[in-house]
């Protein structure tokens, strides 16, 4: 179906983890005739989080969507947020640069995510995926961050390593950069 005949929404649902969250939410979407165009769900600490881009043939409104999803979410005590996407915002803008996987880990301290991502943002490096975990023990917590980012054309992977080297010293964390640009076969 051509995209202009579809209307898109960003939906997020978060609540205490339990069996049946995905089934409950997707049942409501299915009954409405919505398509799940893209989605990612994850368990974060004890919470289960769903982020979805859903589409529906026009005419369709945000109110239609909320009407069906709200009871499901309320019943499971989950937060619900719905945002209508302006035409075209649902299209993924592909960037041509190299893709890097960056791993950061070390003794937990405030600002690891901020300092690393701020350094990347200043160089126009676009993050596509990011996960963080708190590991280790209560006495010695270890922070782990894994992210994937697209480099602008004028930025080599070595440049990223150099950019992050300063932080590595300052924060006393391990940082490694690996190219994961796909090979075409």
């Amino acid at each position: 179906m051509p995209h202009r005949e579809l209307t898109h929404y960003a939906v997020s649902v978060v609540g205490a983890d339990r069996p049946g969250i995905v089934a409950g939410v997707t049942e409501a979407l299915y009954k409405l005739g919505c398509n799940i165009a893209d989605s990612s769900c994850a368990m974060l600490a004890g919470e289960f989080a769903m982020i979805l881009i859903v589409s529906h043939k026009k005419p369709f409104t945000k109110a239609n969507l909320i009407e069906e999803l709200k009871p499901v979410c309320e019943q499971m005590a989950m937060t619900l947020s719905v945002r209508h996407l302006p035409q075209g915002e649902e299209d993924r803008k592909e960037t041509p640069g190299e893709i890097c996987q960056i791993t950061v880990y070390g003794a937990d301290q405030p600002g690891i995510v901020y300092r690393v991502t701020n350094t990347l943002a200043a160089r126009q490096i676009n993050i596509m995926d990011l996960q963080t975990k708190l590991a280790g023990t209560e006495q010695e917590p270890v922070y782990i961050m894994l992210l994937e980012a697209v480099l602008p054309d004028d930025c080599a992977p070595e440049t990223v390593e150099q950019l992050l080297n300063g932080l590595k010293q300052e924060l006393q964390v391990e940082i490694s950069v690996r190219i994961v640009t796909p090979v075409e076969l």
Partner: protein, 169 residues
């Protein structure tokens, strides 16, 4: 001799086991030429297997000599009929893309060195080579097509892959 359209999943032929070739004849030589033409026409393509152009036979071509990852370690153009992997060792993960599965890529683990035996359609002789690095990955990827396997069947993680350890009691 022509560039053939690449079949895309969910075309059923991509999930079928391809048949062994009995011997080299004009039809096989024409098929190999089509595979080569199609490979050379695909942007950045380093291999094509017969099922990808609609032929359910165990034939594939690989050439990584012009690619960034394979240019220093390769056997040039390989035209492989009934290829078989005799031995494999090592493993490494690469993010693979495939012309039959457009738009998506996935992390796949493959052997880093393989010994492959095949009927070389260019010489008509049985040939055995030891391939490593990117060439080995490309051969394994193309040979998977002969068994009806796509990289999607081998993706090791949908995400970057950091998981909480299972607690054993």
């Amino acid at each position: 001799m022509a560039v053939q359209p690449i079949l895309k999943y969910p075309h059923p032929l991509l999930k079928k086991m391809a048949h062994r070739v009995d011997g080299l004849d004009a039809a096989i030589h024409a098929l190999v030429q089509d595979l080569l033409d199609t490979m050379q026409a695909g942007p950045g393509s380093v291999g094509v297997a017969a099922p990808q152009i609609g032929v359910g036979l165990r034939v594939c071509v690989v050439d990584v000599s012009n690619s960034r990852h394979g240019k220093d370690n390769n056997h040039g153009q390989l035209c492989m009929v009934n290829p078989e992997i005799i031995s494999r060792s090592g493993n490494a993960v690469m993010r693979e893309g495939c012309m039959s599965v457009p738009d998506y890529t996935g992390d796949v683990e493959r052997a880093t060195e393989i010994t492959v035996r095949f009927l070389d359609s260019e010489t008509g002789q049985e040939r055995e080579i030891v391939a490593s690095g990117f060439e080995a990955v490309a051969i394994q990827h193309e040979m998977d097509h002969l068994d009806g396997l796509l990289f999607l069947d081998r993706v090791i993680s949908v995400s970057t892959g950091l998981f909480r350890r299972k607690q054993y009691r």
